[in-house]
């Protein structure tokens, strides 16, 4: 295994709410190798987005990283000073959010927004930056003429590309993508995915890809981690997670997506509703919805165990 680019050890993130403290990310450990795409899948409230925010310490009150460490290139992100953190956020890591296309400033042209980012972090002139901005737009498949456009003059898909261009501007080694295509139509999503494949080949950055859409994940990720109620319950190479999942939740999740080809049969998905983080049961968080629930599941938390080389799952049954 290659030297890890990012290493997360026993990360815990809490939300302090009026009704108590909820643990949104519980004891999560994972690594991302250079050039690798790691997918994190799970439904809303499982902690996948919180994880993305926490890695760059962009989480806001009342969220709190209570335990753990985030090692990037040998440095702990959680111990960085404000200035180090600022540099880290742009030069090493950048983030693309689901609603990022709406985060562009509506009264400034996209060209200016791109050059601003470049000038703020690199010691080059505005002219050079403008050339670079045009180049970046070309990379994400937008014509250079669009530099003078305002965000509202572009479609949702184009705006999302602009955001990706901004994320690429400082050539980060890791891009965190939190549901980057969820708000887009399938055809536009496909265009952006195609763009992403090309860019990855060209620049070789790592991606932490967060999504609820497992089919999409199975396509783009090298490895997949599945989260449920704050816990990482299964992680391994994408093919195995998809074709031979070990954890009952992963199995159910994969069975929840009707396929476009293949046999047409009744699917059953997962019964019940996601657990409330403020009312977690003793033992496994998935016990109420699990068909294979045993006595031990109601008493002890299952721990992530190595099933195979680089393949882990957390279930008493395994």
């Amino acid at each position: 295994m290659k030297e890890a680019l990012l290493e997360i050890n026993n990360l815990c993130v809490d939300y302090v709410s009026a009704n108590g403290v909820a643990r949104a990310v519980n004891n999560v450990s994972l690594t991302i190798a250079p050039g690798e795409t790691l997918g994190i899948a799970g439904e809303s409230g499982c902690g996948k987005s919180t994880l993305a925010f926490a890695i760059t310490r962009l989480h806001k009150a009342p969220a709190l990283i209570s335990e753990g460490e985030i090692i990037y290139n040998g440095r702990d992100v959680l111990k960085m000073s404000d200035k180090e953190l600022r540099d880290f956020r742009w030069n090493d890591v950048s983030i693309v959010f689901q609603s990022a296309m709406n985060s562009l400033n509506p009264v400034i042209t996209i060209g200016e927004q791109l050059t601003d980012v470049i000038v703020a972090h690199k010691r080059i002139s505005f002219k050079q930056a403008a050339v670079k901005a045009k180049e970046l737009l070309g990379i994400v498949g937008i014509h250079g003429d669009r530099l003078k456009s305002f965000p509202h003059q572009l479609s949702g898909g184009m705006r999302q590309r602009v955001v990706i261009a901004i994320a690429l501007a400082l050539e980060p080694k890791l891009i965190i993508m939190d549901e980057p295509t969820t708000a887009l139509d399938v055809v536009v999503e496909r265009e952006i995915l195609n763009e992403l494949y090309d860019l990855k080949e060209k620049f070789g950055f790592s991606i932490l890809f967060i999504s609820h859409d497992l089919s999409l994940m199975g396509e783009i990720a090298d490895r997949i981690g599945v989260m449920y109620a704050g816990n990482l319950i299964e992680i391994g190479d994408a093919k195995t997670v998809f074709s031979k999942p070990s954890h009952p939740y992963t199995k159910g999740l994969i069975a929840s997506f009707p396929t476009i080809h293949g046999p047409k049969e009744r699917l059953y998905g997962i019964p019940g509703d996601p657990v409330n983080l403020l009312r977690l049961p003793t033992g496994c968080n998935f016990q109420d919805r699990c068909a294979d629930c045993m006595d031990i599941c109601k008493k002890e938390d299952p721990l992530l165990a190595e099933l195979n080389v680089d393949y882990h799952a957390a279930c008493h049954k395994l």
Binding site: D14, V16, S17, A18, N19, G20, V21, A61, P62, L64, I65, S66, D76, L78, K79, S81, L278, R279
Partner: protein, 326 residues
């Protein structure tokens, strides 16, 4: 706190007999939650309770007739007249309690009149839209651009010295446009929510949609507007009183200030005649403003305050320290 939630969820379903008891219980829980870690609410509500009790039981609590000469002019506070007497020999303590009745009644009813008009105009115009909205909006704007206090002064002067009843109505019918605007915009936001559309698809009548589906969603904003109007009306009543445009023979905080000013009580060292009604006004206004603030805090979770934020700050400081960042 945690305990009460979990025990609630696990409790067996009670039969119909305890329905009332259960409702009372849940109301009690809600009230407790409202006051928990909400100092503005605690201070505002207790202050207002004291003021209201004082006004309500004024005849019992006072020792003198507020409209009769019961002492020598400008007696300093003493055992018999705890807050002194006025130039005309009236007991200030009795006057301020009886005055509270008048001032609060005027403010309360002015608030009720104003909010009733505001709700009627705001919700109809916001929900129905179209031509009706255009017209109602026009009327609202006309009322909005009229400078209120000067208008009141002119009207009051025109009518001569007016009784509190007239002032109530005047204040009521001039201070609704602001509330109407806020309610209108809020209604327009709710109108396009899917629960309203689905009630329409279901065949629900327009009047029921307005009263049952929309209005209950506006309670916090209506109540906030009501308190704001009450504060304003109280101030305006006092203002008109000071200017001598109210009925100076009635006992209210406004007329007390008027007499205090006419008798130039501050110059003659009789500070109590001026300060007592002034402080009463300030305290009531403050209490109402605090209540308004606390409602905001509860109904708008984006205002990041409350006890859990204190806990967060404490925990955050601890983790920062542990990582050597502080």
């Amino acid at each position: 706190m945690n305990n009460s939630i979990t025990s609630d969820a696990n409790a067996p379903v009670p039969g119909h007999k305890s329905e009332f008891k259960k409702k009372c219980h849940s109301a009690w829980i809600k009230t407790k939650a409202f006051f928990h870690g909400n100092p503005p609410a605690i201070i505002g509500v207790s202050l207002m309770t004291v003021i209201l009790l004082g006004a309500l039981f004024a005849p019992v609590l006072t020792t003198h007739n507020p409209e009769k000469r019961v002492a020598r002019p400008h007696v300093a506070p003493n055992a018999e007249h705890v807050l002194g007497s006025t130039r005309n020999g009236r007991d200030v303590y009795s006057q301020v309690l009886h005055g509270a009745r008048k001032s609060l009644t005027v403010a309360l009813f002015a608030g009720i009149i104003a909010m009733t008009i505001a709700i009627a105009v705001g919700v109809t115009s916001g929900y129905l839209g179209g031509k009706i909205d255009e017209w109602m909006n026009f009327v609202t704007n006309v009322f909005l651009v009229f400078p209120q206090l000067p208008l009141l002064i002119v009207l009051a002067a025109f009518l001569g010295q007016v009784g509190s009843m007239v002032i109530t109505v005047l204040l009521g019918v001039t201070s609704w446009p602001w509330g109407a605007r806020v309610i209108r915009s809020q209604t327009m936001a709710i109108r396009n929510k899917e629960f309203i559309i689905s009630a329409e698809v279901m065949g629900e009548s327009k009047i029921r949609i307005i009263l049952v589906e929309i209005l209950p969603n506006l309670i916090s904003i209506v109540f906030g507007g009501f308190l704001g109007t009450v504060i304003y009306a109280m101030g305006a009543e006092a203002g008109l009183g000071i200017l001598g445009l109210g009925d100076a023979t009635e006992v209210s905080w406004g007329s007390m200030l008027y007499w205090a000013q006419v008798s130039s009580s501050l110059y003659t060292g009789a500070w109590w005649e001026m300060l007592v009604p002034a402080i009463a006004l300030a305290l009531t206004g403050g209490a109402l403003a605090l209540i308004n603030m606390s409602i905001d805090q509860v109904s708008n979770p984006k205002l990041k305050t409350g006890p859990h934020m204190k806990l967060w700050k404490k925990m955050n400081r601890e983790t920062m320290k542990r990582r050597g960042l502080l």
